[in-house]
């Protein structure tokens, strides 16, 4: 009997110690140690960790009572992992989020504190703040800026006496000249380009910043002329051999490698690829151009931009003032410049000084008339996927009308 009791006590102790081990560290550690408050900064850019660490060090020197703990999650599972902790009240104090459907999902759940009355808002280019607004409230501030338009090889264009085209006929002529001279005119990455190239292709065919958003309300249809025309133009590029061989089988890395090897003249991705290409081939001179799908006088937009890496403060954070201070610090022009140059990212913050040719080239686009990426105006990812699939269908040989019809059926299912 004694043995049994001993055995029983041992088992109970064992279970107790295991359960105690599973307990929340906060219960013993807590967010505050001594006089210092610790805030948590959550984002998905693991590649920027070093740059952020240097900035955090400076922030902590300037604010000795605040410690910043940084966590970077993988981007593809970011929102799923981040949202659960954010809404539990135990998540990050400052967090980054993507625009579009992910921002929508988080704001619907009340994850953000309004930032509209913060002084640092004035440090941003006003037209770049829209992605973080909802119902007139500034819930997040987009920190990074990318242009989702093709990157082109300036050297090749100069060698052949070409200029970035200003209309559709010009785009076809340039492509033909490149092809005649042995270059793949457009390097298309089957996994990423469908969701990127569609944006500049559609921006002047339906020059409205609500065209895609209206698909979700049923006011627009993918069977409408503007979308079928866009698909027909993509088919024309494919039929004329202006994409490299087997575009759908080429991945982003493969397309970028061909571009860096100067086998192709345009890379149908975006400005975010310029730093990678420059690393692979430091001699390549890069620029940005848009396929203008209409005549020059009909053109409304010159390109597509996406303001992303939207910084927000968790509505359930107990350290909102400290979190605001950290965002304020990140948006100081000298700190933003340090981050931009260390990571190769163009920022939405004004008065940033860029020191690389790629960033300088990209920054020139700030003055151009660009449209916020239409795909990110969609709140339902299924609609975005339907558009992407329509392009893949056309590149697989499906007629544009048929691909558009199939895509609209998918949209109808998503919004019903």
């Amino acid at each position: 009997m004694k043995k049994q009791m001993l055995l029983l006590m041992m088992v109970v102790l064992l279970i107790g110690s295991v359960l105690a081990g599973c307990g929340n560290a906060d219960e013993t550690g807590g967010a505050e140690s001594g006089d210092a408050t610790t805030i948590n900064f959550l984002h998905w850019r693991g590649e920027d960790t070093e740059a952020f660490n240097a900035i955090i060090e400076k922030f902590e020197e300037e604010n000795p009572n605040i410690n910043v703990e940084m966590n970077a999650l993988p981007s593809d599972s970011y929102i799923a992992n981040a949202s659960a902790t954010l809404l539990s009240g135990k998540g990050a104090d400052v967090f980054a989020s993507f625009p579009g459907s992910q921002f929508e999902a988080l704001q619907e759940s009340g994850a953000y504190v309004e930032l509209g009355d913060q002084a640092f808002i004035d440090r941003f280019s006003e037209n770049m703040l829209g992605a973080g607004q909802k119902d007139g409230k500034q819930l997040a501030v987009p920190y990074q800026l990318v242009y989702n338009i093709p990157v082109y090889n300036k050297g090749v264009f100069e060698e052949l006496g070409l200029e970035p085209p200003k209309d559709w006929d010009g785009f076809l002529e340039v492509s033909q000249t490149l092809k005649d001279n042995g270059y793949d005119p457009i390097l298309f990455a089957g996994d990423v380009s469908p969701s990127q190239f569609i944006n500049p292709m559609v921006m002047n065919n339906q020059p409205s910043d609500e065209a895609f958003a209206q698909l979700e309300t049923g006011e627009e249809k993918l069977t409408n002329d503007w979308f079928v025309k866009t698909l027909s133009q993509i088919k024309e590029l494919n039929d004329k051999g202006y994409f490299q061989k087997d575009p759908l089988g080429t991945k982003k890395e493969g397309a970028a490698a061909l571009f860096a090897q100067e086998k192709g003249a345009m890379l149908a991705l975006g400005s975010y690829m310029m730093a990678t290409v420059a690393e692979q081939n430091p001699d390549i001179e890069q620029g940005l151009l848009s396929p203008i799908t209409v005549s020059e006088d009909e053109m409304k937009y010159e390109g597509i931009h996406t303001s992303t890496f939207m910084l927000g403060v968790n509505a359930k954070s107990e350290h909102q003032d400290e979190a605001m201070k950290f965002i304020e610090f990140l948006t100081k022009p000298e700190i933003a410049s340090e981050y931009a140059n260390a990571t190769g990212q163009l920022l939405t913050v004004k008065d940033v000084e860029y020191d690389s040719p790629e960033l300088t080239e990209t920054a020139a686009w700030l003055d151009k008339k660009t449209l916020f990426q239409p795909r990110y105006t969609l709140s339902k990812e299924q609609v975005s996927k339907a558009i992407e699939t329509a392009i893949q269908d056309v590149l697989s040989g499906v007629e544009p009308e048929e691909a558009a019809k199939k895509a609209q059926e998918e949209v109808d299912r998503a919004i019903k």
Binding site: Q4, L7, L8, V11, V12, L14, I15, V18, D76, S77, I79, A80, S83, A84, L87, S101, A105, L106, E108, S109, G190, D191, Q244, K245, D246, P247, L248, G249, T250, K251, E253, G254, A257, L258, K380, E381, Q382, K385, T389, Q392, D393, L395, S396, E410, R413
Partner: protein
């Protein structure tokens, strides 16, 4: 021994004797509750990590929860009816899964058996080759995916470059971009990565067959085919069943390879059930719908598993 004696007594008597009844009563009293606590950790872990999520998935499949919002609506069985009657992507995913599984199953089973027959003798060379064939199994599947994605690249990939170099450019394909062949390209990588594992099971099965049977067949003058048909195959059937069962479930659950190589594209040509439910949950934020897909997926796996257990039982050979 006590137990056997009791059984004999019970078996030998038409009614239970008072002795047996009192022994049973004593045994009931002897039930040791402390033992219950030994299974408690396992029970808790199973409940929290397996039973709990399964019940939660069943419940969530009846809701429209988006995976983030604190609230949701009860939608009954509409997730199931929509999926089964009005979701061509789900149907396509199921079809792709069958193509993928059948492709892997046939090639993996046949070729791993073939290689096992070649490498059955424990010579140094054979042991070396078995290790070589087994090697891909220990490589992380995401690494396998990245390497094969580069190899399959139509422009810079080694496969098309070799085909072109030897004058077979007609056979060069857009391996992952052509929606008619992309799923089979993935199946080939799955087959490449796991054949070595199945080979080892077959080798073990072949070693378990008594040599005397082969000697008897030789004395009887049986041909190699007759020996295979009448001795090797029937006695290897339990191993084959394990290989078939394992390959089927492994192929049905394939996820990392597909996500890393094609993400389910182009045009859903490589979307399978596991990637379908991932996309619904974590990309489309339809956790309720994804849970319904998970329940259907679970039922399919359960049916396949039950069928295979039955096969396993019927193939149980004694010698």
């Amino acid at each position: 021994m006590q137990s056997n004696n009791n059984v004999e007594r019970v078996g030998g008597a038409s009614v239970a004797s008072p002795y047996v009844a009192s022994t049973a009563k004593k045994r009931k009293k002897k039930w040791n509750w402390a033992l219950f606590f030994f299974v408690l950790p396992g029970f808790i872990i199973y409940s929290v990590f397996f039973a709990g999520p399964t019940v939660a998935a069943l419940f969530l499949s009846l809701t429209d929860w988006n995976g983030i919002a604190p609230t949701f609506n009860y939608v009954g069985f509409s997730n199931y009816t929509n999926m089964l009657t009005d979701d061509p992507i789900f149907v396509q995913s199921l079809g792709n899964n069958l193509k993928f599984t059948l492709g892997v199953l046939i090639f993996q089973t046949v070729l791993s058996l073939f290689f096992a027959m070649l490498l059955v003798k424990n010579t140094k060379a054979n042991i070396f080759y078995r290790a070589v064939y087994f090697f891909p199994t220990i490589v992380a599947s995401v690494s396998v995916a990245f390497v094969w994605t580069f190899m399959y690249d139509p422009n810079i990939g080694v496969i098309n470059n070799i085909l072109s170099a030897v004058g077979l450019e007609n056979l060069a394909k857009s391996w992952l971009g052509d929606r008619n062949i992309a799923i089979y390209s993935l199946a080939f990588v799955q087959f490449w990565a796991h054949t070595g594992q199945m080979l080892i099971i077959f080798v073990a099965g072949l070693h378990a067959i008594p040599k005397e049977l082969y000697e008897a067949a030789e004395i009887e003058g049986a041909s190699k085919w007759q020996t295979f048909k009448s001795i090797t195959w029937p006695l290897l059937a339990p191993s084959a069943t394990i290989v078939v069962a394992y390959t089927t479930i492994q192929s049905f659950k394939a996820f990392d390879l597909v996500i890393a190589m094609t993400g389910g594209g182009p045009s859903y040509a490589t979307e399978i059930l596991s990637t379908f439910l991932y996309h619904e949950a974590f990309i489309n934020f339809r956790f309720g719908y994804a849970s319904a897909a998970a329940v259907i997926f679970m039922i399919i796996i359960a049916i396949v598993t039950v069928l295979q257990f039955r096969l396993l039982k019927s193939n149980d050979v004694k010698f």
